[in-house]
Symmetry: C2
Subunit: 496 residues, 2 copies
């Protein structure tokens, strides 16, 4: 059994317990861990390290693909292991530490982490911890995500493999490992279609750097997205109608363009909505695939899906793993540098669909900061796709907290995506197509199409008064952020 | 003489006056005009059209490469010709009309205009007006800029050529015209070095679409950059020292990486400062070349310069045109889609150097909006380079208006470049290297290194109080924009 999973016999004597492997870590190290949106994360080492941290000073810079499952970020944060954390997270405990200023969090575009590591900024990887299906003759076979694992393996002084026996060996062949060369020798990335393979099935590695192989059987945490509701269905309806109009106008072909969808309930619901759409022969070129992608593959509407990670509900995960042969030719998992690469996002003409925390009347989007100050998750790949893609769509429910927060505000309290990068805004009330419009033309559309009716009079009033004060982008600076201040004081953005 | 300039004899009978050519224009048309930063702009047609607008309703969408010279934007704005204008401008008259809400200005990333035209958003080009050195057997030979001209010619129903006899024929061969194919047939752009040529010397065109050839002799407007002063010299010193440290740390090679420098006095001064640096064999891959680029070519430190436009002072322009043979192998002018393309900016690992109007303690940059509302020029290509390049440096003098405005503020009043895209901030006081730092770590660096001493106590006080209130990015929303409001009321940001 293990010989099928460790096909380089010389490595067999590297098998040890997580506690033994934890001894390789030294205080102050930079650790690269596999894992991207609850998929393919190292399961044993975070626990073993948190255990060690009970009795000694142990603080790391921890770099991942994106978020982790199994509560690992929370465990590590509680144990005080995390001095610095990048480039993304979703854990409630870690989030609190970040917002208290106890963990230094670097919120990065997900295509950029590998590039920065390559140029030695801010520091090099000491130990890579990588979950694998197997170690083949050619390299490490990742599990349900690739993330930054190939870059970590390439750079780390020492490599620890978590061999996860709960993941079927049949995943082998699903991955496509290609990394750009260091500059100035870099060549064009030879990918011109979402369904193309440009690399090998395994992550090449130097056997001399393997410090430990730890056997695990813990599955990925199931994704925790909510089922579609009336509002997400309405949002999906607006997006699909818009795309149909684009096809009718000749700006998109019948199979659209490769789709990207951010993580989370709303993006998943929009994709789910495509099962009722007239579109066929679709492709995805995304950073993550959720349940909806598998549904679309099953319905036959999605011809191919490329991503860096697959994160599914328990039921869908079982269905997926039990029917891997059916999906084998329709899926590929790539390093996140490739799934999110500006070169490919622009070349393929990605249609990006991402979730906003809030947006403003001129089209600026806040994806990360609650009340302008408190980190929710991170920008993730939304900036890679919104800036460089063909169409950048942001979706949000129009209100939060039972209507006490409007997602549409006079001025966002933090800007992740500027007006230059936002083409279309959508809530359950409707859609605003901002392309080719000046700020003064955008505001009425955003107010009348996207804003909850309860907040339209307030926004109209703000925009009218600001317009009289003048400017290309009219604002009353003394009031622009007052909705947020009002909520902080009175727990509602309603001014009446 | 003219036969040297019009080498397709069938076109000779298209020569006419600008007034005659103006008759082709109809109210409501979308016009694509050559011109990028005062270089290579159409000189005769804007005047002729403004003249026609005196006696009849004539309003256009005018798309250019970037800004125009010869006061053309002002003339057209005054004549009421400009209903919509994109993607960049610098004209005082036009600026006033934009800020009064009379001209709808669409402020775009300069790499994106051609892409949007290709997909028919917002509208197709009716007439292209292109300044040319000559019409060769192969196509239109542009003058001192390429800008979006190749895209305009490809798409326009009718083409009007302004043949400028004041520009030497010797410019022929300087241009490299390559446009990406429409999707989904698009291939990788085969450029891997700044000095590479990947296209032809002329813009291919359909002779049947040539409506008119207008002969002109008006030269480009000279650039109006100011000479280096103590502050810009200090900024240059900080940047050069930083780059030296990067070389020493092994993160950059001795010939650095291809440099991009934004338009304007400060960026020009930083490049000028490189003449006193130890760097050799440098390359530029920029959107525009100013006097400093020619100086660096002359000093031998710059081995090659690629751009979309050359805009020079009168004296430098004469020197340049008189010595073209010397520069011929060291220069290339490309479409701005290629000079600013995300694919190439990431592949080449551009070091981007751009000017900020203001930036904040967390590294967000405002490049465009005075007081958060009034458009100055536009974002230009800064977003193409800052997002996708290897290093993103923003420079600014620490104060404006005799010290009454601080360029470093608690929160910028408009975000063009988010904290995710800004690596290094520089003023005459010093440099803050923000790479790999969390917001709470960035603020003290920005305050102590970049802020004018007069404003440091105010900023320290803000940051300390905000930090106590908590959050990943501490702010006091009620105060965050109060410096701007204070200036609006009392003409100073000093609170004492």
């Amino acid at each position: 059994m293990i010989r099928q999973r460790i096909r380089q016999p010389a490595l067999a004597d590297k098998v040890m317990s997580a506690t033994q492997a934890a001894a390789f870590f030294k205080n102050g190290m930079t650790i690269g861990m596999s894992g991207f949106t609850r998929a393919g994360d190292a399961k044993a080492m975070p626990r073993a390290l948190a255990e060690r941290a009970r009795t000694e000073e142990l603080r790391f810079t921890v770099i991942t693909g994106a978020s982790l499952g199994n509560g690992s970020d929370g465990l590590m944060a509680e144990a005080g292991l995390l001095a610095r954390r990048l480039p993304f997270q979703v854990d409630p405990t870690l989030r609190n530490r970040i917002n208290a200023g106890e963990v230094m969090f670097i919120d990065q575009h997900l295509s950029e982490t590998a590039e920065q590591l390559r140029s030695g900024t801010p520091s090099r990887i000491d130990i890579a911890v990588i979950e694998a299906v197997a170690i083949s003759e050619d390299g490490i076979i990742p599990t349900m995500s690739v993330g930054n694992s190939a870059s970590f393996v390439q750079q780390a002084q020492q490599i620890i493999i978590e061999l996860n026996l709960s993941v079927p060996l049949a995943l082998e062949g699903l991955h496509d490992i290609y990394l750009p060369a260091a500059r100035p020798e870099r060549q064009p990335i030879p990918l011109t279609r979402a369904d193309q393979r440009i690399g090998g099935a395994a992550i090449p590695f130097d056997p001399a750097r393997i410090a430990a192989i730890v056997i695990t059987e813990t599955p990925d945490s199931p994704s925790n997205i909510l089922p579609p509701d009336d509002e997400t269905r309405a949002i999906a309806g607006h997006v699909i109608k818009f795309l149909e109009c684009e096809v009718e106008a000749g700006r998109l072909s019948h199979d659209l363009a490769p789709l990207q969808a951010g993580i989370g309930t709303i993006a998943n619901a929009v994709l789910h909505g495509l099962t009722d759409s007239p579109f066929r022969n679709l492709t995805m070129y995304s950073e993550v695939l959720q349940d909806s992608a598998i549904e679309l593959l099953d319905s036959g509407q999605l011809a191919f899906a490329s991503a860096s990670s697959i994160t599914l509900s328990s039921a869908m995960n079982q269905r997926f793993l039990a029917n891997l042969d059916k999906y084998r030719d329709k899926l590929v998992l790539r390093p996140q540098e490739i799934s999110n690469h500006p070169e490919l996002v622009r070349r393929l003409g990605i249609i990006g669909l991402n979730t906003a925390l809030e947006f403003d009347i001129y089209g600026n989007v806040n994806s990360t900061h609650v009340g302008g100050t408190h980190m929710m998750n991170g920008i993730g790949g939304s900036g890679d796709f919104a800036r460089n893609g063909q169409l950048s769509i942001f979706v949000s429910k129009s209100v939060a907290k039972d209507g006490r927060i409007s997602s549409v505000v006079p001025m966002v309290s933090h800007v992740d995506h500027s007006e230059h990068d936002v083409d279309v805004l959508v809530t359950e009330w409707g859609l605003a197509d901002l392309r080719g419009l000046a700020p003064r033309e955008r505001a009425p559309l955003v107010i009348e199409h996207c804003t909850h009716p309860d907040y339209r009079p307030q926004l109209r009033d703000y925009f009218e008064r600001a317009s009289r004060a003048g400017g290309h982008t009219p604002h009353l600076l003394g009031e622009a952020l007052s909705w947020h201040a009002h909520y902080a004081q009175r727990k509602t953005m309603r001014m009446d």
